[in-house]
């Protein structure tokens, strides 16, 4: 939500500036060259925005979701296929295993543990997302045929987590799901 607040704050500033400029046209200043005056703001505005962007960039780098030098506590294998996710403790190698896994008991992962999801697809592109029990979207990676994307996550709330598909994959895209559980005691 912080992103929404940031956007609405900046959007309101922009709207206010535009309103101010539109209203200013009601009282035109004859003979004065405001065009040049405003033009002189260009350099300071450029410097200000460039700095703002560069600082934001630097601040965002440590939050890249790409895996770093960490040893996970648990590995979970995620296989996507039109239109379900199999979330398993072992890699899925055949369609039969996939079918079996989609109806099996949900995998349990321990709370606060670093979990590695190894995500792939058996047919088209899918998007593997993690929804917390309260409906918050925690993160995601793409599930691609021929590739295994590795997503590292830590969960601080126990409960049933939902995986929805976040890459359009066909007519059943919106029904596609998978679940797993985050448990307080060490699960296996």
């Amino acid at each position: 939500m912080a992103a929404f607040e940031l956007w609405s704050f900046l959007a309101l500033i922009i709207v206010a500036v535009y309103a101010h400029f539109v209203l200013s046209t009601r009282a035109p200043a004859e003979g004065e060259d405001y065009y040049k005056a405003i033009g002189q703001l260009r350099r300071p505005l450029f410097v200000f925005l460039a700095l703002l962007l560069l600082i934001s960039f630097a601040l965002s780098v440590p939050h890249f979701p790409y895996p770093r030098n960490q040893i996970p506590d648990k590995v979970v294998y995620v296989t996507a296929k039109q239109f379900a996710f199999a979330i398993t403790e072992k890699p899925i190698r055949t369609d039969e295993e996939f079918e079996e896994a989609t109806t099996a008991e949900p995998v349990k992962v321990p709370i606060n543990a670093l979990v590695e999801f190894r995500v792939t697809s058996r047919d088209v592109n899918h998007g593997f997302s993690l929804y917390a029990p309260d409906g918050e979207l925690l993160g995601q990676t793409q599930a691609m045929p021929g590739y295994v994307n590795r997503l590292f996550m830590r969960f601080d709330r126990p409960g049933t987590y939902l995986a929805l598909c976040l890459e359009y994959c066909g007519i059943g895209h919106h029904r596609m799901r998978g679940i797993f559980e985050v448990v307080a005691q060490k699960g296996r």
């Binding site: 992103a3 922009i14 046209t25 505005l45 450029f46 965002s60 045929p145 359009y168």
Partner: protein, 498 residues
């Protein structure tokens, strides 16, 4: 008055030729009166589906509508933008009428094929037809529908590539490449004077050509898979399709900005001249636009990390020229100035605000750490609808109001202008706000039906409906007013042509 604001017209057209050109421009823009309401209706249909109005409808219709709405809207605003810019450019250079006519015919054919593919063949892989989905629909649509869709894109690709090449040819007849890109301004020279319209159009056209080439390669890979059974690398295909799509959308935006640079000064009485800063900004855009598309692939961890970092940097930096050159320039142009506010100038001006507001949302989403949670949520359509619907669409609508006013000699009553503007802005921003809120509340995009865990998606869709109603009335009033002028202009120009 024109003379002091814009450079003097350098190209003399024979009256008949001029009339033919005007008619062709009106024909191109006339597609808007048909396609905008129809494609908009598809958008309304999708929001109604989100609001759970059709619980028993086969979801294929939602996804087919999604596909046609997406590809149709981008195509529609690209062609109206390009034809409008071509018209404005005809003061300085001489584009070929024959090529534009051929391109028009091919575009109509392409649109017809798109409609057949989606509404008859129920092709529903999304505008971006992510490989390998189009030929692996799980029986939801037949392979022939995919064939028709891809042939339609190929047709449009040929049409627009010819159009773009001809435009560059026309510019090349008058300017050298370094002049057209205003490199002499960077060296501190101001002669020959090159209008910003030429600069922006050259940049946009070159960039759009790269996009079309990417599309050709993409289609070739699809053909290899379909005809010879040779699979393609899904990651490579993803890069190609997003390169093509991102560039096309970006360029459409810039076509609207080119109109802004050329038309707004006529209502302000102040010329918008090329400077070294303008030249630098647009050359930077030409470079950065090649890399910004990487932000579509942030969630493909398989993509080399350097590309991701480059993508975030390019996406951040590309906002600078827009903000400090075009938007600040627009604001400076009107400040405490006697502006003749008409539908045309108001819409062009309002369009830059949408560009800024949507740009802020885009920069936020192009931050990898934020995209981790926002990727493919409704935040994405929220931001691109802001700089499309409330940005370039308003600019092109403004241009069209300007063109039809010029050619028909008719302008709207001020009360109607105020009504249309209020409806478009209140309806538009209200509609968008619901997208933003839904995105911030984790509602995915491209969902026909929301699962029960995402019930907030239904709520925001319902809340957006009154705003869509206001927006629709605004658009219909605009079409009513400008459509009348358009018909009048068509008749007037027709009377002048042999």
């Amino acid at each position: 008055m024109m003379a002091e604001i814009a450079l003097p017209a350098e190209v003399e057209w024979a009256p008949a030729e001029r009339a033919a050109f005007q008619r062709l421009t009106l024909a191109w823009s006339g597609t808007l009166f048909v396609l905008f309401p129809v494609l908009g209706l598809l958008g309304l249909f999708m929001r109604l589906s989100h609001a759970n109005f059709f619980p028993n409808l086969d979801p294929i219709w939602f996804y087919a509508a999604l596909t046609l709405h997406g590809v149709g809207m981008v195509g529609l605003w690209f062609i109206t933008g390009f034809s409008g810019v071509l018209y404005l450019l005809s003061r300085y250079v001489r584009p070929s009428l024959a090529v534009s006519r051929l391109s028009f015919a091919l575009t109509l054919l392409g649109v017809l094929l798109l409609v057949i593919a989606t509404l008859v063949g129920r092709f529903a892989a999304g505008w971006y037809f992510l490989y390998p989905l189009p030929y692996r629909s799980g029986g939801a649509w037949a392979n022939w529908a995919t064939d028709v869709y891809l042939i339609a894109l190929a047709t449009l690709g040929v049409a627009w590539t010819l159009w773009a090449l001809d435009l560059l040819r026309a510019i090349a007849q008058r300017y050298s490449l370094s002049q057209a890109l205003c490199w002499h301004y960077l060296r501190g020279e101001t002669k020959p004077e090159v209008p910003p319209l030429i600069l922006i159009t050259t940049v946009s056209t070159i960039a759009s050509l790269t996009g079309f080439v990417a599309a050709v390669i993409l289609l070739a890979f699809f053909a290899a898979d379909r005809l010879a059974g040779v699979p393609a690398d899904p990651l490579l295909m993803k890069n190609l399709v997003f390169y093509f799509g991102h560039v096309l959308v970006n360029i459409t935006m810039y076509l609207g900005v080119a109109m802004l640079y050329d038309v707004l000064p006529q209502y302000v009485g102040h010329p918008w001249k090329t400077t070294a800063t303008t030249a630098f900004a647009w050359n930077a855009v030409l470079f950065l636009v090649l890399f910004a598309y990487f932000h579509h692939l942030y969630m493909d961890f398989a993509q080399p990390k350097a590309f991701q970092v480059l993508g975030q940097m390019a996406s951040y930096m590309i906002s600078l020229p827009a903000a400090v050159v075009s938007i600040l320039g627009t604001l400076a142009m009107v400040y405490r100035t006697k502006v003749r506010w008409t539908l045309a100038s108001s819409l062009l001006f309002a369009g830059t605000m949408g560009w800024a507001v949507g740009g802020v949302a885009a920069v936020i989403d192009s931050t990898i750490a934020i995209n981790f949670r926002f990727h493919n949520t409704l935040w994405v359509p929220a931001h691109f609808h802001t700089y499309f619907l409330m940005g370039v669409v308003l600019m092109i609508m403004g241009f069209l109001a300007h063109l039809t006013a010029q050619l028909s000699g008719r302008e709207e009553p001020p009360a109607l202008r105020r009504t249309i503007l209020t409806l478009l802005l209140v309806g538009g921003y209200g509609f968008l706000l619901m997208f933003y809120l839904a995105g911030a509340h984790h509602v995915p995009r491209r969902y026909a039906v929301y699962p029960e865990e995402l019930a907030q998606g239904i709520l925001y869709a319902r809340l957006s409906l009154p705003f869509i109603a206001l927006l629709s009335i605004g658009i219909l009033l605009y079409i009513w007013e400008v459509g009348k002028r358009w018909a009048l202009a068509f008749a007037t120009v027709g009377a002048r042509s042999p």
